[in-house]
């Protein structure tokens, strides 16, 4: 048996044609899937930040009931697999909204896959972001917050001028991790049939039978997204640490 005979299936002739962005190739579909994935990741990360900020403030400064409810939220969401949560929220969320609409006398609506994906992943991200932000706020020297309060700052001004900028350097590593998790968790939406990168890849692979080529290409795209994010994150981290002593020797 010649070497050529062994390797020819691996090369899967015409990988370049298959991956070209023009219609006979499937590259365009993959890129569209990547755009959808990035969109969902951005939306979910943003929503997660909002929920996380509210959650962190609730856990730190809320009343006893709010604190306990937040504890239940973060514990349950972090203990149950994302895939199960996505299915549960995807079905239950759409169902509840439609029931509420019917109860109020409106007609049922079809919930946009993009919006549903963002809402579901954002809810999951919120639980992790709550813990990250809570830890970051606790790392701020508490005297600074007390001093701001002593100056008579309102809670909103205090948050905007003191807590947020001061906690950012402590929060960035955790938030960066969360962003990378968000980009990878978008792949889970393939299971509920949303056309993000992984599902587009599987469809392209299923049609052309070039499974290996397409999954490798998609893996390359995800990896590029991660490496690109790392560059941006390093820049944001440097910016958020401006004026602070270097931590290079501390690590």
């Amino acid at each position: 048996m010649s070497l050529d005979h062994i390797f020819s299936p691996l090369l899967q002739l015409g990988a370049i044609e298959l991956l070209s962005p023009a219609p006979p190739g499937w590259g365009g579909n993959l890129l569209r899937g990547l755009a959808n994935s990035v969109q969902i990741a951005l939306g979910a990360f943003g929503l997660g930040l909002l929920i996380g900020t509210a959650g962190a403030y609730g856990k730190l400064y809320g009343g006893p009931i709010v604190r306990d409810l937040m504890e239940v939220y973060t514990t349950v969401v972090r203990a149950v697999p994302e895939l199960v949560l996505i299915l549960l929220l995807y079905y239950a969320g759409a169902d509840l909204i439609n029931r509420a609409l019917e109860g109020l006398g409106y007609t049922r609506i079809d919930i946009n896959g993009l919006v549903a994906g963002i809402a579901v992943l954002g809810f999951v991200q919120g639980a992790y972001a709550t813990e990250v932000l809570r830890g970051a706020i606790l790392s701020v020297p508490q005297g600074q917050i007390e001093a701001a309060r002593a100056y008579g700052m309102s809670p909103g001004l205090l948050m905007r001028r003191i807590t947020m900028p001061a906690m950012l350097p402590f929060a960035i590593p955790g938030l960066a991790n969360l962003w990378l998790i968000a980009t990878k968790d978008t792949a889970l939406l393939a299971v509920v049939g949303f056309n993000e990168l992984t599902l587009e890849t599987r469809q392209a692979a299923g049609t052309t039978k070039a499974y290996f080529t397409f999954f490798l290409a998609a893996g390359g795209l995800y990896l590029l997204l991660t490496l690109f994010s790392n560059v941006i994150i390093a820049r944001i981290e440097r910016w958020s640490r401006r004026g602070m002593p270097s931590i290079a020797e501390g690590r």
């Binding site: 062994i6 299936p9 691996l10 006893p64 009931i65 306990d68 409810l69 349950v76 972090r78 203990a79 149950v80 697999p81 994302e82 895939l83 199960v84 949560l85 299915l87 549960l88 079905y91 239950a92 169902d95 990378l180 990878k184 968790d185 978008t186 792949a187 889970l188 393939a190 299971v191 992984t198 890849t201 599987r202 692979a205 039978k209 499974y211 290996f212 999954f215 490798l216 998609a218 893996g219 995800y222 990896l223 991660t226 490496l227």
Partner: protein
């Protein structure tokens, strides 16, 4: 006497935890649970009882096997990154970056659909003793989860190996221990002890990754719940029960790791 003291403080702590609002919240929780049991449909459980038990067993089995194999892969990966020469450190680092930079679902599908579609094209593989295994789904599931855990835990072990104080290793060398003995008696135990809390977290993450194997036709507990949904059109009940099962398994993992950590006393400054 001292036992009495401990007991009173423990009761006091329990009483302190059980504040009035918590009693109310617990009552609401029990009411919700009771109404879920009473109003929702659970009549499908007897039909799927055996299948569900098998599914739970398979989930735990896959998790345990991949945790052990992944850890065995992670130790050399961590060592190579922490102290290895560049020609070992560089590939290990690249492996961890690639594994951590791509979704597990994609890795799983790449192995199952990609490799799985390549293998039959080689007659040599089709005639080997491996072929009966390669035609099933679970070897791919175990392989994908092992590589994934290995990548994530390898990164953890890198920090753990690098974090063991140098004096400990120098002292061991001064005692005349050989390299393997230093590793077995000093370096490895201390690194694992340092990494225990993180390893507990990684174990929970691994458990939460196991339902993905259902997408390549391995029948774990998640696949059983999906099947109930498809067979009976009951949507919420199987999923809620599934979430409860995962909560319980997570609780057990957290408990085990807390016991492991408590075996070694640590001093908090």
């Amino acid at each position: 006497m001292s036992i009495d003291l401990v007991n009173t403080t423990r009761t006091q702590r329990a009483l302190g935890w059980l504040q009035p609002h918590r009693i109310g919240l617990i009552a609401i929780g029990i009411a919700l649970f009771g109404s879920a049991v009473y109003f929702m449909r659970w009549d499908w459980i007897p039909n799927y009882y055996d299948l569900a038990l098998q599914g739970i067993w398979r989930t735990i089995w896959i998790m345990l096997v991949t945790a052990v194999l992944g850890f065995l892969l992670a130790v050399p990966l961590g060592l190579a990154q922490a102290v290895g020469p560049w020609w070992l450190a560089w590939p290990a680092n690249a492996f961890c970056t690639v594994i951590r930079g791509t979704p597990l679902l994609l890795q799983l599908w790449l192995l199952y659909y990609g490799l799985g579609s390549l293998f039959p094209q080689f007659p040599a593989i089709r005639q080997s003793w491996l072929w009966p295994y390669l035609r099933q789904a679970w070897p791919y599931a175990v392989l994908a989860l092992t590589l994934s855990t290995g990548g994530y835990v390898g990164e953890v072990m890198r920090g753990a190996f690098a974090g063991v104080p140098h004096g400990q290793l120098e002292a061991a060398r001064a005692y005349g221990m050989r390299r393997w003995k230093i590793f077995r008696r000093i370096w490895f135990p201390q690194a694992v002890q340092r990494a225990l809390p993180t390893l507990g977290g990684e174990s929970v993450l691994l458990l939460k990754a196991t339902p993905l194997v259902a997408t390549i036709t391995v029948v774990d507990i998640y696949a059983v719940a999906s099947r109930v949904r498809q067979d009976t059109y009951i949507v919420y009940e199987p999923l809620l029960l599934l979430a409860l099962i995962y909560l319980c398994i997570t609780g057990i993992i957290v408990f085990i790791f807390r016991r492991l950590e408590a075996r070694i006393p640590t001093r908090v400054g």
